[in-house]
């Protein structure tokens, strides 16, 4: 809880600093754009965060965006399948992939890092193969304008992805902090054996976390596809899994499992996007983007560790 508040204060301070340095930060266009990316990154960060809380990790999400994006392209553009059906197919595929990862980790006891690393390679490779390594664009979304609208449009000036993040975030908050499943999830992350010795099927709990992560990646995949309006199979979504892991860690999740909060993860994801915004608005060469982000994450983790040790 304290961690989340601390992070939130840093987030606010950063926003104030940015406003002073460049008032354009508060312009409607900038805020809308910021809210849009925060929404997209926040949604899948929640999924990855839940997996991290079990003591696992999900490295596959970035590649999954490329793979599912290409699938979506084929369904909508060359095959002209009605968009609601296409959405269902993509989400179902995402769910099944999550189920597969969960099966590998909980039933076959494959280390989560390995299982999802293989996934990361496989989905990227499949995306490149299916698209013959060529960029696939959605053009003017003829026949599925509504879906494009839903993914990129705004509602009362608020971008759709951000609205979705609020809805999903609320549901995830209830799941993690109010429901019995959430209690089990946190407990499994702390001591899986102890939970198993209480008669609880820990495999099922872990499996479900991967399913959620897969499903939320599916939603993000659709949003990201229309955000860029084209899928370059070799680069679309690459490194995004690291954004999610970074957001979760900034937000108070321990990679050892058993710790974390939904609000923390969302604030973590937002902070990362504001940092990126900072690089643009302050005229820092955008090639330094990753270095700035890495530096900030490292600093926060080091401070956290030092504070913990001095307690």
């Amino acid at each position: 809880m304290k961690k989340t508040i601390g992070l939130f204060i840093i987030f606010i301070l950063l926003c104030i600093f940015l406003t002073i340095m460049n008032p354009r930060f508060l312009s409607v266009t900038n805020l809308q754009n910021l809210a849009r990316v925060v929404g997209m990154f926040g949604i899948f960060s929640i999924g990855v965060g839940l997996v991290i809380i079990t003591g696992g990790i999900d490295l596959s999400v970035g590649s999954l965006f490329a793979f599912l994006g290409i699938v979506l392209y084929f369904l909508l553009v060359p095959w002209h399948i009605p968009w609601p059906l296409a959405v269902i197919v993509v989400l179902a595929a995402a769910l099944l992939i999550g189920l597969f990862h969960g099966f590998l980790v909980s039933k076959l006891k494959i280390q989560p890092f390995i299982a999802t690393l293989c996934g990361m390679l496989i989905y990227r490779g499949l995306a490149q193969f299916m698209a013959s390594d060529a960029t696939k664009g959605f053009g003017y979304s003829e026949g599925f304008e509504r879906l494009n609208q839903l993914s990129t449009g705004t509602q009362l000036g608020v971008p759709m992805p951000f609205i979705l993040l609020i809805v999903i975030g609320f549901a995830a908050w209830i799941l993690l902090h109010q429901s019995v499943y959430g209690r089990y999830l946190l407990a499994v992350g702390r001591n899986e054996q102890g939970v198993r010795y209480s008669g609880i099927n820990t495999n099922r709990i872990i499996l479900f976390a991967y399913v959620i992560s897969g499903f939320l990646s599916g939603i993000s995949a659709i949003l990201l596809a229309f955000y860029s309006n084209a899928i370059a199979p070799s680069s679309h979504g690459s490194f995004y899994e690291l954004y999610a892991i970074a957001a979760a860690v900034l937000g108070g999740c321990s990679l050892r499992g058993g710790e974390g909060s939904i609000v923390g993860i969302i604030v973590g994801a937002a902070l990362l996007q504001v940092l990126q915004n900072l690089v643009n608005l302050l005229g820092i060469p955008s090639s330094l983007n990753y270095a700035v982000m890495g530096g900030v994450i490292l600093t926060s983790v080091v401070i956290d560790q030092v504070v913990k040790r001095n307690k």
Partner: protein, 513 residues
């Protein structure tokens, strides 16, 4: 037992320990122990679990330091502050769990941390030299494999020989072997004895810690007994017999915690028929227990008791045999199956399996049955808190608040939390694995009372314990295990500590019912 006059002016012990004392967090583990060993002598150190054998030897290994008393090495008083010092003195410690790097070869293991190197800044390892250095020590032990053989290709017995060779290469003159035969086959044990003979003939002294009295009869020159952290006597070569050794190990006053059962029945409500544990797949285990009785399960460490408990609780389910509860056959393939039948385990390892120590007392108490404290999947915190408060009151759990983390409780209170989380769930069979280990006397007594109360309510209580005194003081019947087998089931009135010890060391005698 007579103390034979081994000391003479001419015959000075290589090593002697006088008046050694040690306290651990309020437990007086060693109360002034004397121990000595002469050159070229094999001394067996015997005693029950917790008698202080390992603690005493760990002082020679530099792992513990005595609180009082002195250690003399070749007549000189020494202190052994760390493992390195112990090795420099010439003490070799062969631990029960071997510390081998199985990704290295034999020579690499023997010279780990002191590898011969080529000159030069890179300090590359001179493998050839290392192998040649290792060879004579292995040959001295009659070992024929090349020192370049990877460690993982060796059997445990062979790895043990390598450990011994390593100790010799460090100029060890005293070897301490802690339960060296516990994972060896019969013929491997014979091989080890031969090696020990060779070592003794070259002047090496050996301290041999074992529960296997038969082996001690074969290999020891002298036996030293410990009981409750004090010397209980010694036996010279001629005196070493099975019965004499058992007498050294036991023979205390039994403190009576026993309460008369209120309603002992003969219903044999729990029938375990030919189940097998994964650790001992060769042995079938069958026994019965009735409602209203406490069945003690005892034996030495590693006799298969915990494995039996884990099989009954579905942690490690049996593929063979059947379990009957009240005449109905029940299938236990997972912990949830066991819990659904009211079979609960209070495990040996409180911190890792009994509790989630980073969660609150309340969260631990409600963990098994969250469905009692929720509405439509959402946690009902009020119900949870009042349940936890109630349990704390009833079980006498002393905690500042129900939201206190379990890790901040004392061992006794932690154990009460583990017990308490099952008590409200209508237990049919309650299995407790070493429930009083590391717990203060007050909490122990409370736990005994709780167990008796449970059995009087008609719960079948199975209590696993290594503490013979406790088993005799608490249980109505006692089942003894040895190396994965049940060696006997005795009525309490037929039990003596010696009889139990005989069964626990595998001497299956008259009494089997």
């Amino acid at each position: 037992m007579e103390m034979p006059a081994m000391d003479s002016e001419f015959d000075q012990p290589v090593l002697s320990m006088h008046g050694i004392q040690k306290h651990f967090a309020g437990v007086h583990a060693l109360r002034g122990v004397d121990f000595k060993i002469y050159a070229a002598e094999v001394v067996a150190l015997i005693g029950e679990n917790g008698a202080g054998k390992s603690t005493l030897m760990k002082m020679l290994g530099g792992i513990y330091q005595p609180d009082a008393g002195e250690i003399c090495f070749n007549g000189r008083t020494v202190s052994i502050p760390n493992v390195r010092h112990s090795i420099e003195l010439g003490i070799g410690f062969i631990h029960q769990e071997l510390n081998v790097m199985d990704n290295l070869d034999i020579a690499g293991n023997m010279y780990l941390g002191r590898e011969p190197v080529y000159g030069g800044a890179l300090r590359l390892i001179d493998k050839k030299k290392m192998i040649n250095m290792a060879r004579p020590y292995l040959e001295r032990l009659g070992f024929t494999l090349s020192p370049a053989t990877p460690m993982k290709e060796l059997s445990i017995a062979q790895q043990q020989i390598v450990e011994i060779a390593k100790a010799l290469s460090l100029n060890a003159c005293i070897l301490i072997m802690d339960e060296p035969t516990s994972s060896l086959t019969q013929s491997e044990t014979q091989m080890l004895f031969k090696t020990m003979q060779v070592l003794r003939s070259t002047g090496v002294s050996i301290v041999y810690i074992s529960h296997r009295l038969g082996e001690i009869e074969v290999c020891a020159d002298r036996v030293v007994g410990l009981r409750d952290g004090a010397n209980s006597g010694q036996l010279s070569r001629e005196e070493i017999t099975h019965d004499n050794m058992v007498r050294l190990m036991v023979g205390r006053q039994i403190k009576n915690n026993y309460c008369i059962p209120q309603r002992k029945t003969e219903d044999k409500a729990l029938k375990v028929d030919r189940i097998k544990t994964s650790a001992w797949p060769k042995h079938e285990l069958s026994f019965e227990a009735s409602r209203g009785e406490i069945l003690g399960i005892t034996g030495l460490v590693g006799s298969g008791r915990t494995e039996l408990a884990c099989t009954l609780f579905g942690v490690d389910p049996s593929e063979n045999g059947c379990i009957y509860l009240d005449g109905r056959k029940i299938h236990i393939q997972s912990v949830s199956d066991a819990v659904n039948h009211g079979i609960y385990l209070v495990p040996e390892d409180r911190r890792n399996t009994g509790l989630v120590v980073d969660m609150s007392v309340m969260e631990n108490l409600t963990l098994p049955r969250m469905d009692f404290h929720c509405r439509a999947g959402m946690i009902d915190r009020e119900s949870e808190v009042s349940f936890a408060q109630n349990q704390c009151r009833e079980s006498g759990i002393k905690t500042a608040a129900v939201h206190t983390l379990a890790k901040n409780l004392s061992g006794g209170n932690q154990q009460k939390v583990v017990l308490s989380k099952w008590l409200s769930l209508n237990p049919q069979v309650m299995i407790l694995d070493e429930p009083t280990r590391g717990i203060d006397i007050g909490s122990k007594t409370e736990i005994y009372k709780t167990l008796r109360k449970l059995s009087d309510m008609g719960v079948i209580v199975l209590m696993i314990s290594s503490d013979m005194e406790e088993v005799l003081g608490v249980c109505d019947r006692i089942m003894v295990m040895y190396e994965g087998r049940i060696t006997g089931i005795l009525e309490r009135k037929d039990c003596t500590e010696e009889r139990l010890m005989n069964l626990a060391v595998g001497k299956i005698s008259e009494c089997r019912n």
